[in-house]
């Protein structure tokens, strides 16, 4: 039965449709895989086996009645940032305690509407703040990949480290994730999986624990480009409960994966060619360019002159919004409450004990950049930078149809290696934050292995609401790359 977990989502859906196996068998296979792997990987913070099997049986019944949805029976993991009704939702923070929301996020509700089955909740950086999954109150996720001949535990990236690791280790067919500055794409790159952050507003933020509202966007992590397209199709859609959700139809992304890319103009932003870029990253990027050229694309060099200001601007805007978004965790209505003899003491104890160090750091930064006398110099200036970055992309997209860049400046690094240096950690987001600031879709797919045998990711960036072109380019790259590598199963 173990081989069921090795299927792609698409293959599993086909198998279910052909009655080769049942949703219950599929769910059970994944639950067993989780049970075996999770003590080592720590990808899931909660499994819901009974609900999963019950849900799978109902799915089988629906299929028997001829009422199968587009994701009928798909066994998925859910990042523990999505509120799941009656199921503990923690954002990997102590401060939420055993919070069980009496509501379901729109994105997960859409998945269940289409027949998917939840296996459990996936680990992440606390409140999605981190690039290595090491800020989680549940401890870090361990990357299924290891360097060749090395036993060092590596990070799966973050913040969606649990989602990426679970997909890479075949613990689920796909997973929900969120991306505020690269939290889908960087973990996807670190684990040899595919992840897409769609256009801001494509997926509803309703029921997703907020980190930075103007940047947060949900998306899937999957085994293939097509799987990501199938998942995103179900997750997306206008939601009147989110004012920033876009009132647009959701296209058939999977169809777009098959589209020809012949004649597409692909931009290569010069500013992303950083000084001292790892040669293997540069080589992979060049290889990607060559593949697209072979597929009939026209390659153009483009300028995104404000790129170097993106990371600093991001690390002002995101903490500013976070400092306000996280004010609601005060111990009064839900979650953890510290002890104290006065209101101030209760606040201090609750937030002092409930939040981890990185979250506190960002709250402090955020409160600082919004405070009287500093607002103009930091927050307002960062917003101006943000508008410049938007303009940079608009100018570039007058000449090209999509951009190709590396996803991250390095492959997965060792757990603990960068914990002491927040700046080094923040630099992980250098290629990804720009699309969050501009609200554009960005997809990461595995393109190569480095000398250590670790996966490297390419990023495709598209115009706002043009995920279809992104999927088409990613499909062409996936075909050309022929990336088949899988991590060795050292964990089970």
């Amino acid at each position: 039965m173990a081989e069921l977990t090795e299927l792609t989502l698409k293959a599993a859906l086909d198998g279910l449709a052909a009655k080769d196996f049942s949703a219950e068998e599929l769910a059970r296979a994944h639950l067993e895989a989780i049970e075996a792997a999770n003590p080592q990987l720590n990808a899931f913070v909660l499994t819901t086996p009974e609900a999963a099997l019950e849900g799978a049986r109902r799915s089988d019944a629906r299929r028997a009645r001829g009422e199968a949805g587009p994701l009928e029976g798909a066994a998925l993991g859910v990042k523990d940032l999505f509120a799941t009704e009656g199921v503990r939702t923690t954002a990997a923070s102590r401060i939420l305690g055993d919070f069980k929301p009496p509501y379901e996020s729109t994105v997960t509700a859409n998945l269940w509407r289409d027949g998917a089955v939840m296996l459990g909740k996936l680990n992440l950086d606390e409140f999605a703040m981190g690039s290595s999954n090491e800020t989680s109150a549940f401890g870090p996720v361990v990357n299924p990949w290891k360097g060749r001949g090395s036993n060092q535990a590596l990070t799966p990236g973050g913040s969606s480290g649990g989602s990426a690791a679970a997909v890479a280790a075949d613990l689920c067919l796909g997973a929900t994730a969120t991306d505020t500055g690269g939290s889908i794409r960087q973990p996807a790159a670190f684990t040899g999986t595919v992840g897409i952050k769609p256009t801001y507003g494509r997926c509803s933020r309703f029921g997703i624990v907020a980190f930075a509202s103007s940047l947060d966007q949900a998306g899937p992590i999957a085994k293939t480009v097509e799987d990501a397209a199938l998942l995103l199709r179900s997750m997306a859609g206008h939601d009147p409960k989110d004012s920033t959700s876009l009132p647009v139809e959701t296209p058939d992304f999977a169809a777009a994966v098959q589209r020809s890319v012949k004649g597409l103009r692909i931009g290569v932003p010069e500013e992303y060619r950083l000084d001292g870029m790892a040669p293997e990253i540069a080589a992979m990027w060049d290889q990607g360019i060559a593949w697209l050229k072979d597929a009939g694309c026209e390659i153009r060099s483009v300028r995104l002159p404000h790129t170097r200001y993106a990371l600093p601007a991001y690390y002002i805007v995101a903490p500013a919004e976070a400092s306000s978004n996280l004010a609601r965790y005060d111990g009064m209505r839900f979650g953890y409450r510290g002890e104290g003899r006065s209101l101030s003491e209760v606040y201090e104890a609750t937030r002092g004990e409930g939040f981890g160090a990185e979250v506190k750091r960002r709250i402090l930064i955020g409160a600082y950049v919004l405070s009287a006398g500093y607002y103009d110099a930091y927050y307002l200036k960062a917003q101006k930078v943000r508008r410049r970055i938007v303009q940079d992309f608009e100018t570039a997209f007058q000449e090209v149809d999509a951009l190709l860049t590396p996803t991250a400046p390095s492959a997965a690094f060792g757990l603990g290696e960068r914990v002491a240096d927040p700046i080094a950690m923040y630099l992980n987001d250098v290629f990804t934050v720009t699309t969050n600031l501009a609200g554009l879709p960005g997809l990461s797919l595995p393109a190569a292995l480095d000398a250590q045998g670790l996966p490297l990711g390419l990023q495709v960036i598209g115009r706002a609401l043009d995920e279809e072109t992104v999927f088409a380019v990613a499909g062409a790259l996936e075909k050309a790359a022929g990336f088949r590598a899988k991590p060795e199963r050292w964990w089970a």
Partner: protein, 490 residues
């Protein structure tokens, strides 16, 4: 037209001379809406604690605000009523501070770009005179919940029913110069929002309350430092708070001190203001645009459509009543104070003497109604019947005195006045023969009194009274007078 003769300026007598008080008001008016500003939760008053709280109001993780279009419409309507600029593009900001009755840790408000810009309000004093007050802005914001400190010796309870309710904050320019002017401003503003239907103006329920900014200066001098008195919820308290605060500031200044800009509270029991927090303790609210909400963009056609549905506003109605019916400023002001009263008057006054009608409406009817704690809407007498009553007086069918009796019977539910007059035989006696006979009888019976009248004509009143008595009050007083004068030779 309206009188604009201002009363003598309000001055505080200090040791060093006279002081002038400068007042600006921030009025918080709860939008008359069934649902809150950003959640679908109900706004009904009087529910049990925390019965009207949605997950958005309680700021559960992942909950998002969605603007209530109806509330925006009420803000625009009020702005139009204030003849203010409507900003087609405005925006919501977050005002960040921690308190248990503020679940999200921030209040959504319009800090930088309010939905309504500058306007003006013509304020009417009780005597009918008027003055103008500049409006700086009107913006929408959420109310906070309520902390209950008096339910338990050790615990504070929080009721979130109010949390998220839509408020319009209406900010005046510092154009007010006395406690009375401040009260008149609030009264006029309250009247306006009631006319517009955008706020019920109920101060007892806290649906309309004011933050009062007070400073003092030598008359005509530069503006002094101000103190803000938070959340004053009655006209009386507004006046008391200003009078106390101005006096306090004068005393400090005359003692050589200076006024610290600070936030104060008015304690109505002690009749004094107390410091709540100083400028140094002032919160840094870390305002920034709420990223959960898009900028609020209004369609000019929509604004025009709202404008087209505005009712006649109080100042316009007041001018018209004076012009159309020849009413005094005072009478018109009293009528306009309640749109239903004005409407009642206009119905009753159709084809009648408006001055007679206004007396019956404003004195007799409203007097009796307010004696029972009722409004004109509760009147047992329809306006048409007041009109008919006045018509009977005009036609000489009944005297004003009889009319009071008829009115009592109308009040008691006996129906239309003409029918009451017929049923009870209250028709005024204008038969001069009958009156003459009575007069002659009286003169013959009281020759001494007749003589007295010749010496002192005012004494005729005794005869008038007797004639009325004999005729059961139905004799036409004018006819009685004429006949008496003729017979007594005065």
């Amino acid at each position: 037209m309206s009188t604009t003769t201002a009363p003598a300026p309000y001055r505080i007598q200090g040791r060093t001379g006279e002081w002038e008080v400068v007042i600006g008001l921030e009025v918080h008016a709860q939008v008359a809406s069934q649902a809150k500003l950003f959640s679908g939760a109900s706004t009904a008053f009087g529910a049990g604690p925390n019965e009207h709280v949605s997950l958005v109001d309680a700021a559960f993780p992942g909950m998002l605000p969605v603007i209530n279009r109806f509330c925006v419409e009420q803000a625009v309507r009020t702005g139009l009523g204030l003849r203010a600029r409507i900003n087609l593009k405005s925006r919501f900001d977050r005002k960040n501070y921690f308190y248990p009755d503020l679940p999200a840790g921030y209040q959504i408000s319009q800090y930088k770009d309010p939905v309504v810009g500058e306007g003006e309000l013509e304020v009417t004093r009780d005597d009918g005179s008027t003055f103008k007050v500049g409006i700086e802005r009107l913006h929408l914001e959420q109310d906070a919940g309520k902390s209950l400190h008096d339910q338990d010796p050790n615990w504070t309870y929080v009721d979130l029913n109010r949390a998220g309710v839509a408020l319009m904050e209406i900010v005046s320019r510092p154009d007010l110069r006395s406690p009375e002017e401040a009260a008149a401003y609030v009264k006029t503003l309250r009247q306006l929002v009631r006319y517009l239907g955008t706020c019920d103006g109920d101060m007892e329920k806290g649906n309309l309350r004011a933050d009062v900014n007070v400073s003092v200066r030598k008359p005509g001098g530069p503006l002094g430092a101000r103190c803000e008195i938070k959340n004053v919820n009655s006209m009386r308290f507004i006046q008391q708070a200003i009078a106390y605060e101005a006096r306090r500031q004068v005393e400090i200044l005359e003692d050589g001190g200076s006024i610290d800009q600070e936030t104060r509270l008015y304690d109505p029991i002690r009749g004094e203001t107390r410091s709540m927090r100083s400028k140094e303790e002032a919160h840094d609210y870390r305002y920034f645009p709420d990223p959960d909400l898009l900028p609020l963009e209004l369609d000019p056609d929509w604004v025009r459509a709202i404008e087209a549905t505005l009712p006649e506003l109080p100042d316009a109605k007041r001018s018209r009543l004076m012009r159309q019916y020849g009413l005094s400023a005072y009478d018109a002001t009293v009528l306009v104070s309640d749109p239903e009263r004005a409407a009642f008057f206009e119905t009753a006054a159709k084809g009648r003497d408006p001055k007679l009608v206004v007396n019956w409406v404003s004195n007799d009817l409203v007097g009796r109604l307010s004696g029972e704690g009722k409004d004109i809407a509760d009147s047992p007498i329809p306006p048409e019947h007041i009109g008919e009553l006045v018509q009977l007086i005009e036609e000489g069918v009944i005297s004003s005195k009889i009319a009071k009796t008829v009115f009592d019977r109308m009040w008691a539910g006996e129906g239309a006045p003409r029918a009451i007059v017929d049923r009870h035989g209250l028709v005024q006696v204008t038969d001069t023969g009958l009156i003459e006979a009575a007069v002659e009888r009286l003169i013959a019976a009281h020759p001494d009194k007749a003589e007295a009248v010749k010496a002192k004509p005012q004494a005729i009143g005794w005869f008038v009274g007797q004639v009325m008595k004999e005729t059961g009050g139905k004799a036409n007083p004018a006819a009685v007078n004429d006949i008496l004068k003729a017979k007594l030779g005065v």
